[in-house]
Symmetry: C2
Subunit: 708 residues, 2 copies
């Protein structure tokens, strides 16, 4: 699925700079098929905590018992990218491998109308040629500590659900701040099993990241939106960055070695990555909310924006260039959500969900103690969903994906939040988050007026379409103008394109905000109280109730199924496992491996028309390639958005591939695991080396990797 | 705007076969700018009844006083095409000129995977080579009779609003039936000025229509969705059909002559066509409903379907071919509605609307008689809109645009309606409408399973997205399956693809419906009562109230402004006027005429990438052309969707052009006329001849036209 998170600027901003945002609504693993899986011991299900791996399953199915050292080594070799994906360190000199589509945001920022890196690709011939990325951060999970008791203990008996939620949140901020002072790591309390468990993660954080290599987007994203989520595939969806510290390449003690032989059909493989979010525990009613409210609303926004971005791009080459990232993000998300929606309308999935829920509720209701402790959980969650329906749209509608409007809002909120004690702040303005915030806020990455106007006009118009022209907040957003005129006026008149202006306002605090005549700052000041109010309502009435309810359901699951469960995804490090394996589709067998030869065949079949056109380098270099080199492959590993760029490794911990997508049938993994057809897609390690050496004159980079 | 009506199959079916459907909610002309226009005498506003032309304006501004003969001649030379556009007869042998995009539905139906007429174009070398279209009908307005008193008289004093509405509708059916028996014309009572006036139109109807000529779609729609509604333009958006009667070309007494010299900047021109619908009289509250409910809902469906159709088309060439018509329709409508939405958010338009309404209401309230008669109109309409908000979505959401589902519904309804007296039937099943219905219902045009499945799955999924998976009607539509599985099963198992099966069911009446095991018939039987109920609720509670209210507002307008007003568009014949005239945009002047040379320049600028690629014939033939030939031009004529294919004529009644589009600024004409930038786009008559002769080897066709 181009397993990356976030389809709009706003979401990307949140993901990039804040570790736990995605996790704030995380829920524990339900394992829809957990009964079947446990019984048969065969399904490769689960996104497991790296410090709580599925030892039994690995041993039973793959005869593998990873040692503590193996686990620690791969944990510290895996990284997360601020732009919203996964990666791994693959040399002793801090070389980081991820997907092209994870790095493309930065490739776009480094491009100009005259030098479009997405078109041409990039290779640093020497280390001196490696180019610094403006606002990319990379994190490696270094320490894990269980802080469950301290967090849980913060909520005193007798507190209301909302107050208990607030108290726990404050305690999490306090723990993080203490830990950062002590360890100098970047610290984050992660809510697992929806309050069943709280872990303090300490990350090494790197911000001097330089671009080493990227192929042409044509090669990385061959087949485009047409082939996205399809298989077989032919994508060189890889790029390499390098981590620098003190202006020198990072001496990376932990890094993954490269496999000489790759993997073969049936071989055990492991995926280390940062799956963003799953909802496998959702109650049936919560899934109904997803199906009938949330997903339709998300899809509506995506369809709308996709068409608008295509119109924008159709106006000329430069428009197409600057909107490429937005368009890719929207199309990718649209396809992913379409797949999730299909799952939500699959009678088979409903049948199992209802049976699962019935079984668990019967277990709970069958015993007075259990009933007393957990019995009200389902109804509480249903009640919260019912309330949420009333203001869901108002909570989830954003003011567009404008970079400038996002900056204005951050400045306004930062000034206000900084006047509060750390633990009382909105979580993304805690002291421990400020480094990431500033990286983002002071990014010198280009901001294009035309695209900003288009984004902003689209956002304001969406507000008007959704809430009507008479809505008071809509009136504030529009300021007596049409959406386009308003956007035009705001973008042309704001000074926030200048990084120094942003710094000055940020440093000036509340006073600077009050005195600012910048139209975007003024608009943010005017509208932010309402955005804050709806967020608070959500946290108090919905999040708190869900957290409370799911904590109970989690406890009931532990009681019924035992402790051997994985938590729903939280955009933190997880271990998935499985094997390279084909599947059946429309009656025919889909083989697990594609080859480089297949690329040329597919391009011919589609007469070389975009997006099936090959880069000139590929056309000219065909004879140089070993065409039978395995190119992409599918495996049964349990992955989801956020896993983009995850290394695929073998039992020896060596890289055999690079996750870049899932097939259409895998999209349903958001709500339920199934092994029948759902597959993770990876670039084969052998194709990466073959292409680097034969097509891209990148022999020394290939040497560095293979030497690792 | 590709001034055609209707973006989905369902709408097209309605338009194709039923003359008055679009008129049923028609409202009288408000003339937002009527004060200013009347005072200055300068704006070229109005879509005038051909039997009530704006004599004063034409005389004052253009020194032209059309004679009765002139008016009758052009009236009888103008035609309407069942597929939803306008046209004109341009030779003594029944040659009909319209837009390529009006004829493209039929070009598509005549195409096969091996012979794609949209790609290759078509020229019948001899009359024997002219190809019959399966289900195209062409109508010429022959007689006009005022039946206002009879229709109004049908509603007895003291009747409820809903009953009065029903009584008038019945009377209209009775009048039509009587007239058809007497005149053998196709008769239709048209509601003008929203009940201020009722006219009985008698049409000559032709159904043996043969294709004569069409260029490549690449030439007709050069610039594609990018350039749609833009100017300058370079489109040969023309095609020719021929009307046959008794297997011979129609001897057309009335037909338009061809101008030798075309028109020049500032020349008076006239447009005869069938504008579909305008809403210039809408009250401010009604416009709010449009802005906040109706247009957002329409746009949501269009954005959604556009993305889905692009995905469908991306899967292969044959998919792209069979979905081309759907995609064009959706994109075209999306752009048009986007323009209307922009108008609905234009503060200037609101200012004038509110002033206009204030003035009229003050006039009404200023006098007790007037207040008693008309004073409650605005509040009544507002109250109806408020009620309508409750069930608007349910009324307007269709079961998708599936051809097969539409056939099933027609069969089920036809059987039931035929058991009722003519006047009591749903209007589209009146005896006077059955010929058109059967033309449609028994069309042997190809139906493609894959596209049908895609349409149907999309439709059912849309229902679920809109009303939720627990909705009883959604449950019936889905039948316990996912939307795609349901669609797949219905399409694969229905026998309605066979025209003979349709005929048998239609002839078998209620009994045949009852005994049918066809899954689509069964589904239609199961769901139709609810669709009928919501339609009835709309007619009784909304339509009746609006009709009542607008009739009062119309009367008040006549009292304030005099009788010299045109009615809002009703997809019936109208006369618009103006002159070729450029405009200013973003500070620069847009010249009124483009040339053939501009086509080549534009293609070069965009590097010949689709949709800016030229047909090979154009590339090879460049040197043969007089490149300074005027190609497209803009004029101030007041047009809207439905005007596609309208002839543009001069004072002598000779063809100087062919309407095919409006510019972006003209889209607002749906709700208000403005002459500042809004322009009608036409193909210049000189370019049509030049291309026929020099590029398409169609000399004898050009001769026939010029000889006319």
């Amino acid at each position: 699925m181009k397993m990356q998170i976030g389809w709009d600027r706003d979401a990307a901003r949140q993901n990039r700079s804040r570790l736990g945002t995605k996790g704030s609504r995380a829920v524990i693993a339900a394992g829809l098929f957990i009964g079947a899986a446990a019984m048969s011991g065969r399904a490769d299900e689960g996104m497991w905590l790296v410090n709580k791996p599925p030892m039994k399953q690995l041993k039973n199915k793959y005869g593998f018992e990873p040692k503590r050292e193996w686990l620690e080594h791969v944990q510290k070799s895996a990284v997360r990218l601020g732009s919203g994906g996964s990666g791994s360190i693959v040399s002793a000199d801090g070389l980081v491998m991820t997907n092209h589509h994870v790095g493309s945001d930065n490739l776009e920022k480094l491009s100009t109308p005259e030098r479009d890196l997405l078109k041409t690709g990039f290779l640093a011939k020497t280390r001196a040629d490696e180019v610094k990325c403006d606002d990319l951060e990379i994190m490696a999970l270094w320490t894990i500590e269980d802080v469950t008791e301290r967090v849980k203990g913060a909520a005193a008996a007798g507190m209301s659900t909302a107050d208990a939620n607030t108290a726990r949140r404050k305690m999490m901020s306090t723990i993080e701040q203490e830990a950062e002072e002590k360890t100098k790591l970047d610290c984050q309390v992660v809510t697992l099993y929806q309050g069943g468990m709280y872990h303090l993660y300490g990350y090494k954080r790197y911000t001097d990241i330089r671009l080493v290599f990227a192929p042409e987007q044509q090669a990385a994203y061959f087949g485009g939106d047409n082939d996205n989520f399809e298989y077989p595939r032919f994508c060189l969806d890889v790029c390499f960055f390098r981590i620098y510290e003190n202006d020198r390449p990072l001496k990376s003690e932990h890094h993954l070695k490269w496999s000489k032989n790759g993997s073969a059909d049936g071989d055990a493989i492991f995926v280390l990555g940062h799956p963003g979010r799953t909802r496998r525990l959702y109650t049936a009613d919560h899934l109904r909310f997803l199906r009938d409210n949330e997903v339709p609303s998300v899809l509506r926004q995506l369809w709308r924006r996709e068409v608008q971005l295509q119109s924008f791009s159709g106006r000329g080459d430069e428009n197409a260039r600057i909107a490429k990232g937005d368009l890719f993000g929207v199309q990718n998300s649209r396809k992913a959500w379409t797949g999730i929606m299909a799952g939500l309308h699959d009678p088979e999935i409903w049948k199992r969900k209802l049976e699962d829920e019935k079984k668990l509720r019967a277990f709970v209701d069958g015993n007075p103690d259990r009933k007393g402790q957990w019995g009200d959980a389902w109804d509480k969650i249903s009640a919260a969903q019912k309330t949420y329906r009333e203001f869901y749209l108002r909570h989830r509608t954003r003011g567009g994906s404008s970079t400038l409007a996002g900056i204005a809002r951050d400045l306004v909120r930062l000034a206000e939040e900084k006047t509060k004690p750390n633990a009382d702040r909105l979580r993304e303005y805690r002291d421990t988050e400020l480094d990431s915030l500033f990286l983002d806020l002071y990014s010198p990455a280009p901001i294009y007026d035309d695209l900003e106007i288009d984004r902003m006009a689209s956002g304001y118009s969406y507000w008007a379409e959704t809430f009507g022209g008479e809505d008071p907040l809509v009136a504030k957003l529009l300021g007596g103008k049409s959406p386009r005129d308003r956007a035009e006026s705001l973008v042309r008149n704001t000074k926030l394109k200048d990084v120094e202006v942003r710094k000055k306002i940020a440093e000036g605090g509340q006073e600077a905000i009050k005195n600012s005549t910048d139209p975007l700052i003024k608009l943010a000041v005017e509208t932010d109280p309402e955005f804050r109010a709806v967020r608070k309502r959500y946290e108090d009435e919905i999040e708190a109730a869900e957290r409370d309810g799911y904590a109970k359901i989690a406890a009931a699951q532990f009681a019924l199924y035992g402790e051997d469960l994985y938590p729903d995804a939280t955009f933190t490090l997880r271990l998935a496992y499985g094997s390279a394996k084909g599947y059946k589709e429309d009656g025919h067998v889909v083989a697990p491996f594609s080859t480089l030869a297949g690329t040329y065949k597919r391009s011919e079949e589609r007469k070389g028309a975009p997006p099936f056109d090959l880069p000139q380098r590929w056309i000219d270099g065909k004879s140089k390639l070993r065409l039978d080199t395995p190119y992409n492959f599918v495996s049964t590993a349990d992955i989801i958005g956020g896993n983009s760029g995850s290394p695929v490794i073998n039992k020896a911990g060596e890289v055999v591939g690079l996750i870049f997508d899932g097939n259409i049938q895998s999209l349903v993994l958001d709500i339920a695991y199934t092994e029948e057809q759902a597959r993770a897609l990876a670039v084969d390690s052998r194709a990466i080396i073959e292409c680097l050496r034969k097509l891209y004159d990148a022999g020394s980079l290939a040497d560095e990797i293979e030497r690792s």
